[in-house]
């Protein structure tokens, strides 16, 4: 099988791997690099559990071929906490009981981060829209929405 080199930045650190051509970013991150925070829930772009941020944009790693990410800046939930201190979104998800089984959580947090990076003080409607590609099958959407709103408020307080 043809292997191709791919280099990108994952959560601020340089990664260089030889991967089989046609490998999805989800598999490359999980199987090659060992970042298992993106989850494979449907592999068809429906559930959002594999959501990552590539060059500032929310994307689905299950539908993205790794070799198209050469030179990209990739962010996952595993890289969100800095120096052992939880990101405000992580803190808010924890405090607001916004996790049940937890399988959708890393994707939800990435979708929320992509929103807050562009829209630091979102309305409830904007939060709902931003999470609309992510399925929580435990149906705990309300605490998740509240967690994102709480994190946005916490962030703006820190910035003030």
């Amino acid at each position: 099988m043809a292997k191709v080199p791919v280099q990108f930045t994952l959560n601020g650190s340089e990664k260089a791997e030889f991967i089989e051509s046609g490998t999805t970013l989800l598999h490359a991150l999980r199987d090659k690099i060992g970042d298992t925070s993106p989850k494979g829930g449907c592999h068809q772009g429906t559930c959002g559990a594999c959501s990552v941020i590539i060059d500032g944009e929310l994307r689905l790693s299950c539908l993205t071929l790794a070799e198209t990410c050469d030179g990209a800046d990739i962010r996952t939930t595993a890289g969100l906490a800095e120096g052992g201190v939880l990101h405000p979104l992580q803190r808010a998800f924890l405090d607001a009981f916004a996790t049940q089984c937890g399988f959708c959580t890393p994707g939800m947090i990435m979708a929320a981060k992509a929103l807050l990076d562009r829209t630091p003080n979102p309305s409830r409607e904007e939060v709902v829209e931003a999470l609309s590609g992510n399925i929580c099958r435990c149906t705990g959407y309300e605490p998740i929405i509240q967690a994102v709103l709480t994190a946005a408020r916490a962030d703006s307080q820190n910035a003030a």
Binding site: E20, G22, T36, K39, H43, T46, F93, T99, F103
Partner: protein, 455 residues
């Protein structure tokens, strides 16, 4: 959160320090940091991928299976068929003596539902396994299939499952689970009104975000570690032990972290074949359902049909209730004989009725085997019962909530199953619901209690 402590104040110790208090979940820190290890996060060197060849037919005889082309496909390590499985015919509830064994791990001579596992392909990559699966040649002789429970119960219907010999589960009580209490015919004769209605439901898929699967590692000492998202850990270990004819001490199950289950991950489908594959290849094996498999192959909640016949008096008392329930097990038992039995135990609902007759059938059809899901055997019955209650109230021109107060079971009432009621709280729940929903009922109902004098 508000705790209403005035209910049952005299029978409850009031030292509630935990209930009503938010406490952090133990698993949340792992969830929010992406560190929680689900079974599929165990990525092992040299891991093989298992893909299942599945029946395209609802009911067919297998004339032959030719795996030779698939075995030659680049990247393929092994192809498993029925002959490789030590104890191929099993049933999961055999652990609690509910037989007969009626299901094959890999189809042997026959398939009984569309999607049934026929051969397992093991390859170095998922892609190679998918390509090779397409090369397994199975010669089928298609048989007539039956999809409707009433059709299946008619004489001359195609026999779905030879291990049962008829298209229903044979309980020790006969063709169905039965409850007989009082004299329903006398009750109907005495009733002011009789209402008979039929309620039906379709199968419901749990659709967890994490699909069913497991990862198995041979430990090099004849022992196998199985990372799984089963919701039934020891149940799965014991059944795997039977299917593999391997002592339980050789099996190390690691789990408890489930990406959504809702009762749908209790069927012991992926673990035995993956452990067998690891044993026969000496390699770690990953068997993870695709989304399509999760939706089409994993057991749904059973389709049910419920026929309820009630005799009711003008004053609101239900004097007779006859329920016939049908649970569509699909092609194999799994948990459905138990589900149908639960239905018999659940009817006539939380109401005190002097004359009750219940029959619940577990029926086999050529549909996807159904099994457990949150409250299976009960949930659909509750839907039917409560819609029926509303219809009965309307029939006699009574408020539907007051109608339920009249019939609610209370402590000391004899239930149809000849268990005296104790610890009932339906009256109090309805009183609170009446307040919360702003649906007032007459004062006499608000003054009721689940206690009865002398109970």
């Amino acid at each position: 959160m508000e705790l209403r402590k005035d209910y049952f104040a005299d029978v409850r110790k009031d030292g509630l320090h935990e209930i009503g208090q938010p406490r952090p979940r133990l698993d949340s820190p792992g969830h929010v940091t992406g560190k929680t290890a689900y079974f599929a996060d165990r990525i092992l060197p040299g891991m093989l991928h298992l893909k299942m060849v599945r029946s395209p037919h609802h009911h067919a005889r297998i004339r032959s299976i030719d795996t030779s082309e698939a075995e030659k496909h680049p990247g393929v390590v092994k192809v498993l068929t029925a002959k490789d499985v030590p104890h191929n015919v099993y049933t999961i509830l055999i652990l609690i003596q509910i037989g007969p064994e009626d299901e094959t791990v890999l189809a042997d001579g026959k398939v009984r539902w569309k999607g049934e596992a026929v051969a397992a392909v093991l390859a170095e990559t998922e892609r190679a396994a998918q390509e090779a699966a397409a090369k397994v040649k199975v010669d089928y002789e298609v048989l007539p299939a039956v999809f409707d429970m009433e059709e299946a119960l008619k004489p001359g219907a195609p026999l779905v499952n030879e291990y049962h010999g008829q298209n229903y589960y044979l309980y020790d009580s006969g063709e169905c689970r039965k409850v007989r209490f009082g004299d329903v015919d006398a009750g109907f004769a005495e009733a002011d009104h009789i209402l008979e209605q039929t309620y039906q439901s379709s199968p419901i898929e749990h659709a967890p975000t994490e699909t069913t699967g497991c990862v198995v590692a041979p430990e090099g000492n004849d022992r196998f570690t199985c990372y799984t998202n089963t919701q039934a850990m020891f149940f799965t270990l014991d059944n795997a032990s039977i299917i593999l004819q391997m002592p339980g001490s050789k099996l190390h199950f690691v789990g408890g972290t489930v990406g959504g289950g809702f009762g749908g991950k209790v069927d012991v489908i992926v673990e035995p074949i993956a452990i067998l594959a690891a044993k026969l290849t000496g390699r770690p094996v990953s068997f993870i359902y695709s989304r399509e498999e999760e939706m089409q192959i994993s057991s749904p909640r059973a389709a049910e049909k419920v026929v309820i016949k009630d005799g009711v008096m003008k004053d609101g008392r239900i004097v007779a209730r006859k329920v016939t329930g049908y649970t569509d097990a699909g092609a194999y038992s799994r948990h459905s004989p138990y589900g149908a039995q639960k239905g018999a135990a659940h009817y006539p609902g939380p109401y005190t009725i002097p004359n009750v007759w219940i029959d619940t059938y577990c029926v086999y059809t050529n549909r996807t085997p159904s099994s457990a899901m949150r409250g299976f055997g009960v949930t659909i019955g509750d839907f039917a019962l409560e819609v029926q209650m509303d219809k009965l109230a309307r029939l006699i021109g009574m408020d539907p909530l007051e109608f339920r107060f009249i019939n609610a079971y209370r402590d000391g009432d004899m239930k149809a199953h000849r268990q005296p009621t104790e610890g009932a709280a339906l009256i109090e729940c309805m009183q609170e619901a009446s307040r919360a929903a702003n649906w007032p009922v007459a004062d006499k109902y608000m003054a009721m209690s689940s206690y009865r004098k002398g109970a």
